[in-house]
Point group: C2
Chain length 151, copies 2
DNA sequence: CCTTGACTTGAAGTTAACTTCAAGTTGTAG
DNA sequence: CTACAACTTGAAGTTAACTTCAAGTCAAGG
C-alpha cells in the first residue's frame, strides 16, 4: 500500500488541505503519521473524499456523511454491497429533491401565465397550501430528516 | 390602505417576527411606525415576504433578493411586467438547478449498475472531469453568479 | 385603571463548513 | 548540508440567516 501526504491528497481530490484536516477532526477520514508527525493517508482515502464531495452535492451534511461512511473501511475499497446501498439511498434523495424543484417550477410557470396579481389564486404566494408543503423550511438547505438516508 | 403589525404579518406569512425584523434591517421590507414606535407594514409586504421565501427556495440569497426586490415598490402590488421579469429569471435558475441534479442522478445510476469499484471509469469519482464540472463547488449552496438572475 | 400579551432595541449566540493565522518543525532537491 | 516548500497545532475568524436575550414600553380588553 502506498501513502499520500496531505498535499498530494489535496491536489488529487481538489479539496483544500485545511478542509482535509477539518474532515479528519470530524472522523470522516483517518491517517497514520510519519516519524516526524506528518499525516500519511492510505490511497483509499481518495475515494472516501470523493464520496464526501458527492454526498454533499446530494445535500447531505458532514454529520450525516459521517454516519454513512462509518460503515465503510477507512483503508480499503468498499465492497460492492456497501456502494450499492449508499448510491441507492443517495439516488432516492436526489429524486426527491428534483421532484420538489420541479413542483416549484411548475407553480412558477403557472404564475408566469396568470400574471399572478391575485394573492389568493397563486400557489407560490400561499406557502401554507398543500403543494408547497414539502419544500419549504428554515435556512438555506432545509434539513430533511437524515436517518432514512443514512441507513 | 390598512396596516399589519409585525405579529400579524408573522402569522399570515408564516415567518417569525425575528426574521421579519432581520429582513427590515437588510432593507428587504419596510415599515411605518405608530406613535408608540411599533411597526406597521403595508398590506403589500405580505406579498413581498412570500416573494422572499419563494426566492430562497429557488436558491437566491437575501443579498441577491435585496437587489431583485429593490426594483419593486414597497407599498404596492408589483406590475405585471415586474412579476413577469422576476418569475422568468427564477424559472431559468430552477431549470438549471434541476438539470444539474439530474446529471448527478444519471451518473449515480450508472454507478449503481457498474458497481463502481474502479476509480478511473466513474464520473462521480472524478470531479475534475467534464460532466461534473458544472455542479461542483465550495460550501452548501454553491454561489452561482447572481447578476444574470437579478436583472 | 390595570393587567397582560405584543412590541421595542442592540448585542450576543447559533450552526455548518470551512479558512486563516502564528509560530514553529519536517522532508527533500540540489 | 542547506534552503525552502510542505507540514504541524489550536485558536480564532468567516458567512448566511437567523434566534435569543434583557430590560424595558405599548395597546387593548375588562
Amino acid at each position: 500500500m502506498d501513502w499520500l501526504s496531505i498535499g498530494e491528497l489535496s491536489t488529487r481530490s481538489g479539496v483544500a488541505t485545511s478542509a482535509l484536516r477539518f474532515y479528519e477532526t470530524k472522523g470522516l477520514i483517518a491517517s497514520e503519521r510519519t516519524d516526524g508527525n506528518q499525516r500519511r493517508y492510505p490511497r483509499a482515502t481518495l475515494r472516501r473524499v470523493s464520496l464526501i464531495r458527492a454526498g454533499q452535492e446530494v445535500g447531505l451534511t458532514l454529520a450525516e456523511l459521517s454516519e454513512a461512511l462509518a460503515k465503510l473501511p477507512h483503508d480499503a475499497t468498499p465492497t460492492k454491497a456497501d456502494w450499492h446501498r449508499l448510491s441507492k439511498s443517495w439516488r432516492k434523495r436526489l429524486d426527491r429533491q428534483i421532484a420538489e424543484l420541479e413542483a416549484l417550477r411548475d407553480e412558477l410557470t403557472d404564475c408566469i401565465g396568470c400574471g399572478c396579481l391575485s394573492l389568493k389564486s397563486c400557489a407560490i404566494f400561499n406557502p401554507g397550501d398543500a403543494a408547497s408543503e414539502l419544500g419549504s423550511g428554515p435556512r438555506y438547505l432545509m434539513g430533511n430528516s437524515s436517518s432514512e438516508v443514512v441507513r
